[in-house]
């Protein structure tokens, strides 16, 4: 069965630090890739997505992610985090034929 792994359960950073959250998946075929974010007390919302084309995708609030097909990875990055980035981040993968599968989530805490 397909699976999505997020390497870190909880990441703690200071403001202005760089961020990279890992995401690996097990499915070998064509996939759609997503990062969702859940800010405290808010709904899950889409941060960015990859369907095809340029493997480096840019999302909202300065986030970007790079799809590396050979590594089955879709890591999320931000050069300089802010306190307002404190949230839980979910990687999700949808195979061409299949359902959207979410990772376990990574809690990001940014200290001012």
């Amino acid at each position: 069965a397909q699976s999505v792994s997020q390497h870190n359960h909880h990441v703690i950073l200071s403001e202005a630090a760089s961020l990279e959250l890992g995401c690996n998946y097990s499915y070998g075929g064509t996939v759609n890739l997503f990062w969702y974010v859940q800010y405290p007390g808010q709904h899950l919302q889409l941060l960015l997505k990859y369907f095809s084309g340029d493997p480096l995708v840019k999302g909202i609030k300065g986030f970007e992610a790079e799809f590396i097909k050979s590594k089955f990875s879709f890591n999320l990055r931000k050069p300089s985090v802010q306190w307002s980035d404190t949230a839980e981040y979910f990687c999700a993968v949808k195979p061409f034929y299949g359902k959207l599968t979410f990772g376990q989530g990574t809690i990001l805490t940014v200290h001012p």
């Binding site: 064509t30 899950l44 919302q45 095809s52 359902k99 959207l100 599968t101 979410f102 376990q104």
Partner: protein
């Protein structure tokens, strides 16, 4: 426009009771999904509906769980004879459709229903 709404926002029930959770998707969205979010477990797929097609129930954890979608809009998730392990946040999402040309449509999530079984 209005987003996905869910009710109730919180539900506390006694073990063995039945509960119904409601989801109102975004108007015009033909696909509707239910997920369960448990602490540290991520989002667990339960069921999805797409238009008039038979729902994909492959994620329902037991026969105590069922869902229906009436008139292609509102959906109700029912849990019969609740158990303590059913305690979780139940999330509903909707999307314009499942996918087009291999590209999945974005899912829009509701605020969730926090279910506590005592």
């Amino acid at each position: 426009g209005a987003g996905v709404s869910q009710s109730p926002s919180n539900k506390v029930t006694e073990k063995g009771k039945d509960v119904e959770l409601r989801c109102d998707p975004i108007s015009g969205h033909t696909a509707l999904y239910w997920y369960r979010q448990s602490l540290g477990q991520g989002l667990e797929f339960l069921i999805y509906f797409q238009g008039n097609s038979a729902p994909d129930k492959s994620g329902l954890p037991s026969d105590r769980f069922s869902a229906e979608r009436t008139g292609g809009s509102v959906s109700t998730l029912t849990i019969q004879r609740t158990q303590q392990e059913d305690s979780a946040v139940y999330l509903c999402a909707s999307s314009l459709a499942l996918a087009s040309g291999g590209a999945a449509y974005e899912q829009y999530f509701g605020p969730g229903t926090r279910l506590t079984v005592t």
